[in-house]
């Protein structure tokens, strides 16, 4: 019977699938807990252990199944638990809640109301994902199976239809037909560039030289974006299946998966997936009994943003320093060891099985004319519902941020959204109705990038943000070409000066000049797009720059050198909390005495601002600090909180 597990024909795969499904009773309760990084950071491992202990205690160990699964994207509300067969979603679950879930939901089929998602505005609760506003507008193609399958178990993936696209590709289609189908689907690279995938494949296939290589790029270095990790952690087999199909279509027999060092779970899960696929005959020699053989190796990165660039990544796979090289000849023709190498993003590979199974027409019916399919965005920053969202291309920014994201935190005012990581740009309020796809974002001076979407409110200083990205890139630039290396240094110096109140006339013009040289003359995309955040910040928020330079004032009160802290004597309740917390000992006063800050001692760390429960600590910028009143009795108020 053990032999049946080895798939040596498409019929074998179907038989195996039927067997797996038959083995499982649909009515058997199953609890799935998200253990990917976001939820694990909030203690989901302890939740799993608590479930195990509780089921053991109640003697239900064999009657209820527990699965550790991937992410559904709503990290804000983690840890997430789903109870099947009713499919009830519980959020913010703590180990103390487990006995109640087991005795009520699992045994009596009742619902634990307080653990359901509760909308903060309407106050309504939701049992199913579709009822939650965060999910209502989503279309989940890649993330859909993350709640159902255990990424460490290939049978789970096969049970939901996995590897049938591979069977179809190997036995019913020729490599040319596959490439044609991918071309027709209008799938564009999900890593940010948006290059048509089918054309890239064709280039590599037709390029002279053997062997050919295919590579998965899971080196998502963009700060604020983590969807590649989620796909790799939650559903590694979908990426692997796409890669094998790609290998067959392109004519490669060796694949590489490049995973970022900061994503240990992703590296572990894909390694397990590769091993299992080999055991089942879905990877290795003569896949599924066909004449096609294919092997995959995992390559961990070692922490370098620039290594996510295609030529740099390939150099890293060769075991060298991951620096980009000039691409007069594209890597699709001369990549790893100068052989034709096709590199695609994790999500691109994971989309392939869907296109093969459902066809190019179906895929093109989703999204916009220029950009078909769905895109996963990581909606983060100052937005109420943070997490990963998968939506059809063409959704407007406003829908994304306000309908799905639930608006800005703390009722503050929206200022800008930053897309595309350090290479992207800021998009201000007047463009909120722009449909999101590759071309529209580029028109605004930003880019799709890998889908990071960082929302900023009125407290975020746009000059400071521009400085942040420049300093980030300065550290990450490999230093090989002059425009990028020196340009970033110059920009960083000027921006730091402006943020420290040392800006001078003409700075803005210099910034623009340097940015233009970098855009035209840098070696790789890192340098060419490095100035995007600065240029868009200048274009849409020039007033803020001028305030910094001319009046030494930071309108958002974020630039440390330009602000002072001040305690409002009318609000201070003399509770001594800030006084005790202040690391510099700059706060004076005492019980029954309104506190004041000794400005010369203040290090502007913001501890008092966060510590105060009465909002008495204020930030001032570009205005004189009111004279301090010493020995005043506080005006007592009722405690608001």
């Amino acid at each position: 019977m053990a032999k049946i597990k080895y798939v040596s024909s498409p019929e074998d795969l179907e038989r195996l699938r039927r067997e797996i499904i038959a083995k499982r009773e649909p009515s058997k309760p199953c609890i799935t807990v998200c253990v990917s990084t976001g939820c694990a950071a909030q203690g989901s491992r302890r939740v799993v252990e608590a479930f195990r202990a509780e089921l053991e205690k109640q003697g239900l160990k064999d009657k209820v199944e527990i699965k550790e699964t991937g992410c559904v994207g709503f990290c804000e509300q983690g840890p997430r638990v789903t109870v099947y067969p009713q499919e009830i979603y519980y959020f913010k679950v703590k180990p103390e809640d487990i006995p109640e879930i087991v005795s009520k939901t699992v045994l009596k089929k009742q619902i634990v109301e307080r653990l359901l998602y509760k909308d903060s505005i309407t106050g309504r609760t939701a049992q199913k994902l579709e009822e939650i506003p965060f999910y209502k507008y989503q279309l989940r193609l890649l993330l859909e199976n993350n709640t159902k399958i255990d990424p460490k178990n290939i049978e789970d993936y096969i049970a939901v239809g996995g590897y049938s696209a591979l069977a179809k590709a190997l036995f019913e289609m020729t490599p040319e037909q596959i490439i044609e189908e991918v071309k027709k689907s209008n799938l564009r690279g999900r890593g940010g560039g948006g290059f048509p995938t089918g054309i890239k494949w064709e280039t590599t296939r037709n390029a002279p030289g053997e062997p050919k290589y295919v590579i998965v790029n899971c080196d998502q270095g963009d700060p604020g974006a983590f969807m590649d990790r989620t796909v790799m952690e939650g559903n590694p087999h979908s990426v692997l299946e796409g890669l094998i199909i790609g290998g067959y279509a392109i004519g490669a027999h060796q694949g590489f998966v490049y995973v970022r060092e900061e994503y240990p779970i992703a590296a572990e899960n894909i390694s397990i997936a590769i091993k299992q696929a080999e055991e089942y005959g879905l990877l290795g020699e003569n896949i599924m009994g066909s004449s096609f053989s294919f092997n995959v190796k995992v390559h961990r990165g070692a922490g370098a943003f620039v290594s996510g660039e295609s030529s740099a990544l390939m150099t890293a796979i060769e075991g060298k320093v991951g620096e980009p090289r000039p691409k007069y000849i594209h890597t699709a023709i001369k990549g790893i060891w100068d052989k034709p190498s096709c590199l695609n993003n994790t999500k691109t590979w994971a989309t392939i099985p869907l296109i093969i199974l459902k066809g190019a027409e179906w895929f093109r019916s989703i999204g916009t004319k220029g950009s078909s399919g769905t895109m996963i965005f990581s909606l983060v920053g100052k937005v109420n519902n943070t997490g990963l969202v998968e939506v059809p291309m063409g959704i407007t920014l406003r829908d994304l941020i306000f309908k799905i994201g639930g608006g800005i935190r703390g009722g503050k005012k929206f200022k800008a959204v930053q897309t595309g990581g350090p290479s992207g740009g800021f998009i201000p309020e007047q463009y909120l109705d722009t449909p999101v796809d590759f071309d529209e974002l580029t028109k605004l001076g930003s880019m799709m990038g890998s889908g990071g979407m960082i929302v900023m409110d009125e407290d975020t200083c746009m000059v400071d943000m521009a400085r942040y990205f420049i300093d980030f890139l300065l550290e990450e630039s490999c230093g090989k070409c002059v425009p990028c290396r020196e340009g970033l240094k110059a920009l960083s110096k000027i921006l730091n000066d402006i943020c420290e109140g040392k800006g001078k006339d003409g700075d803005i013009e210099t910034v623009r000049d340097v940015a233009e040289v970098m855009r035209d003359a840098s070696l790789c995309a890192l340098g060419r797009t490095a100035a995007n955040p600065v240029l868009t910040s200048l274009k849409y928020f020039r007033d803020e720059w001028e305030q910094h330079i001319k009046f030494k004032r930071c309108p958002s009160k974020a630039c440390k050198a330009l602000i002072s802290y001040y305690i409002d004597p009318e609000k201070c309740q003399a509770c001594t909390l800030c006084l005790r917390e202040c690391p510099a000992g700059a706060i004076q006063g005492g019980k029954d005495q309104v506190h004041w800050i000794e400005q010369e001692k203040c290090i502007k760390c913001g501890t008092c601002y966060e510590a105060c429960n009465f909002a008495a600590v204020k930030k001032l910028s570009g205005e004189p600090i009111p004279p301090t009143l010493k020995g005043v009795k506080p005006i007592r108020k009722k405690v608001v909180r």
């Binding site: 700060p223 983590f226 060092e261 961990r300 320093v321 997490g387 990581g421 900023m456 990450e476």
Partner: protein, 248 residues
């Protein structure tokens, strides 16, 4: 051993003990200690020494380049022992490094001695020791036949590698964009001040190392930091002290 100068007490004692060579108080002490620890008599010790010496010459270990390499490794072993502040004795230091080089060997074997797996090998060594000892790098250079210069270029290019020993606990403060807009710079400032070190440094008591990281992919929980494998999210600057106090 045959040094005449140290035999000043000879005059007092007369011609009493002649055992192949004339030895003084100090040497006698060393000898008896040697006999005690090894459980061998002096003649047995001499025989053993001669055997090892014979082995050394018969293998041709006295000839360059092997003898030069051996001295090089010996020097490095002593430096290494000093760097990790553990061992003062040469013999122990050499034993220790032989063990470590065997470990590195095992890692290289795991990657089939493949030169293109250099980064993977370094990652594994980094994981095992928490840093990249120079000896291990020399060994990798030797085994893979890759120049040290290239190994250094890789080891200094990537953020994951450290050429100095790290503290017992590694603190990583996330400086990703999402954490940044939610107040990561202030968090880092406070952590820096609490520890008295800059990112990339280790506290003098080797307790904490502080680093920053571009993004940990927990953007929903920002600002956040990790200590070893533990994640701390939604932090306020006032939480830093409490978290640091948890570690010893």
């Amino acid at each position: 051993m045959f040094n005449e100068k140290s035999e000043s007490p000879r005059k007092k004692e007369g011609k009493s003990q002649f055992v192949g060579s004339r030895i003084g108080e100090k040497e006698r002490e060393i000898l008896s200690k040697l006999q005690e620890t090894s459980g061998l008599s002096k003649t047995q010790l001499l025989l053993k020494g001669l055997e090892v010496l014979g082995e050394y010459y018969s293998l041709g270990l006295d000839q360059s380049p092997i003898s030069i390499e051996l001295t090089r490794f010996e020097t490095e072993a002593l430096r290494y022992a000093e760097a990790i502040r553990q061992i003062r004795q040469r013999g122990q230091a050499i034993k220790l490094i032989v063990q470590e080089l065997r470990d590195v060997d095992a890692i290289i074997d795991k990657h089939e001695g493949d030169r293109s797996r250099l980064i993977q090998i370094l990652l594994d060594v980094q994981k095992k020791y928490g840093w990249l000892p120079k000896l291990a790098l020399m060994w990798i250079s030797e085994r893979l036949d890759v120049p040290m210069a290239r190994i250094y270029s890789v080891a200094t290019f990537y953020k994951a590698f450290s050429l100095t020993p790290r503290g017992r606990h590694t603190i990583r403060v996330c400086m990703g964009t999402s954490c940044k807009v939610r107040g990561a710079p202030t968090l880092l400032d406070n952590t820096r001040r609490a520890l008295g070190i800059e990112p990339g440094q280790t506290t003098p008591d080797a307790k904490f190392s502080l680093t920053t990281v571009n993004c940990l992919g927990c953007c929903a929980l920002g600002p956040m930091m990790t200590v070893d494998d533990e994640y701390y999210g939604r932090l306020k600057v006032t939480d830093v002290k409490r978290i640091l106090a948890k570690y010893s």
